[in-house]
Symmetry: C2
């Protein structure tokens, strides 16, 4: 059980000495042969781990640094994901790194356990991993860190473990700005149709919304806050419900562009004119918001820049360089388009004056 400190990288023979067995036995373990006693296998595996043994194949791979970064999405069926991917791809193209795209949310997907995925990423010498919204639990992310695989999370749904690097946007400030815009136009009955209650980014937007209302001296009404998935259907259902209220809102702050587009579609079916009868603000700044008719006022997130920043961070981690910060927040900004205006003049306004 002597600790042999070989001059260079560990060889199979060194592992054999460490484990107190012969080389052929180690060879068998590595190659997954059956004819090895379980106790021996355990000893050998421990020695492999201890010395950090890599097969010739793995070593070649690591030296060659094939330069592949793996990007994991829940799905690519949202403009949000596509824009982030485009940012990653652009950054990758400019520095000759390759991008492997993985989608975990497909019904037919083989669901790889994170441990197996981590193993594959190690075996195949990936430079690192970018995770876009959700996908992995805190425990799963920690598993990657344990194996020293650089991981960067974009806009994490749940707060990631503190040692994981994340890239996001100033969601609180964005939510505040959207709401202030509507207040500034004269709206007082402003509803929030947002994403899942558990999602970090939704909480920040919601609290930005509430902060703006409070600062504006407007009462927060629980019946004006509808939380569910970031999907058009949620916008459709929620607008229906809000319009059925005795005192329907005159403006909607939607927690995502896709929700906002759902609101637009449903408003149209209701015969509501946008922005004359109802103002709508989205969040994300996807091209769909730009191209909708009327064009959607929205809080733009620098999605491409977020993708680029994530790739840069992964590569720095892969090179063991220092990062300025474990958490990057890029600035959002409001883009005013056609879907917002002052409320109808004749609107009965049970106004509380600003104080």
């Amino acid at each position: 059980m002597s600790i042999v400190q070989g001059s260079g990288r560990p060889t199979l023979a060194a592992v054999a000495r460490e484990a107190g067995v012969s080389s052929p036995t180690v060879s068998k373990v590595i190659n997954g042969r059956e004819d090895v006693a379980e106790s021996t296998r355990t000893k050998v595996l421990a020695a492999l781990e201890q010395l950090g043994y890599q097969s010739t194949h793995q070593r070649k791979h690591a030296e060659g640094r094939t330069g592949i970064v793996e990007v994991v999405f829940d799905s690519l069926y949202s403009a949000y994901s596509v824009e982030v991917l485009n940012g990653v791809l652009e950054q990758a193209a400019s520095i000759d790194v390759q991008v492997l795209v993985d989608v975990t949310g497909h019904p037919a997907a083989m669901t790889l356990s994170p441990e197996r995925r981590a193993q594959r990423i190690l075996d195949e010498g990936r430079l690192g991993l970018i995770v876009v919204t959700s996908g992995f639990s805190t425990a799963q992310l920690s598993a990657f860190r344990r194996r020293h695989i650089p991981v960067v999370v974009i806009d994490p749904l749940n707060p990631p473990p503190s040692e994981v690097v994340s890239v996001g946007a100033t969601n609180w400030a964005g939510g505040k700005e959207a709401t202030e815009h509507l207040l500034g136009l004269g709206h007082r009955r402003i509803a929030y149709i947002g994403g899942p209650e558990s999602a970090e980014c939704n909480q920040a937007r919601l609290h930005g919304y509430m902060a703006a209302l409070m600062a504006g001296g407007v009462q927060i009404r629980p019946d004006y806050v509808m939380l569910d998935k970031f999907r058009p259907e949620h916008g459709i259902r929620s607008l229906k419900a809000l319009m059925a209220l005795p005192e329907p809102p005159t403006a909607i702050f939607a927690g995502s562009d896709s929700i906002g587009l759902g609101v637009l579609a449903e408003a149209r079916r209701h015969g509501l004119r946008i922005p004359e009868d109802l103002s709508v603000v989205g969040f994300d700044g996807t091209y769909q918001a730009e191209q909708s008719i009327p064009a959607l006022t929205t809080v733009t997130q620098p999605l491409q820049e977020m993708g680029r920043a994530a790739l840069r961070a992964v590569l720095r981690l892969a090179n063991n360089e220092e990062l300025d910060s474990r958490r990057v927040e890029l600035a959002t900004h409001l883009v005013v388009r056609e879907s917002t205006a002052a409320p109808a003049a004749g609107d009965p306004e049970p106004e509380i004056p600003r104080h």
Copy 2:
């Protein structure tokens, strides 16, 4: 110069015998050492090629069949590309193949020569290559074939070399169906705003359009055919030009959804109501056409299915299985939505009766 038929795969020693040199010399050539006479290097390279020698690393890679397929796009800034990618990803997820996405059209992109790309694909043991619209010239595609890399082209802009497998849609039939739909509604002044003149798919759609007009007894007017990029701006510019004609069209067949959406936007600016004043049909069947207001009538291409079919074909080629056909054409179909209707009744109609 004896041809040694080793029992199994070629070893370095076999290459040495074939080239009439020693093993160390071959080793040097393989590892790119400088101290080899040029004439010797040439002989050795010939022998390597001849015997199809693979380094241990390459062999490991090939055996392990890491299972990466490379997909090359011009860009991912179009709904078309994204839908194709989603098809590829879905198929890949269901059979545990990984997908590497490459985008060549970015301004900052390192432009890899196809020879270097082919080399990389060989070295890194990719299963094959899917090329989505354009990207490679005929000569470049042939380079891949020469090196026995499975290649499938989706919707080739130019007719690919006959030995390359391609996946497309029934563009001619789709163009004909779109035009017949407009004729059936009573339109006679139908313009075509299509893609690049050189693009195969555009030619097919244009000829489908012309075939329908001829069958309907409607004169083909060259001033009603506008060809340029598959982009919204082309739709905007062309509609402007068409509306300035002494006899503007009452219906537009757009060669892509993105062109169609440009037409919609420009019509709105012009104060034209859709579909009362102008009918518009798109092509592609992207979700943007579905979500536009008014929703765009379009000829749907099974883009996801095309992505799936391409991946299936690449894997069959990689396994040396037979393909049913070198060219797959999947069926398009017309989806009627809100952007088409009968022309305004009062329309002055210099009508030629159908014969």
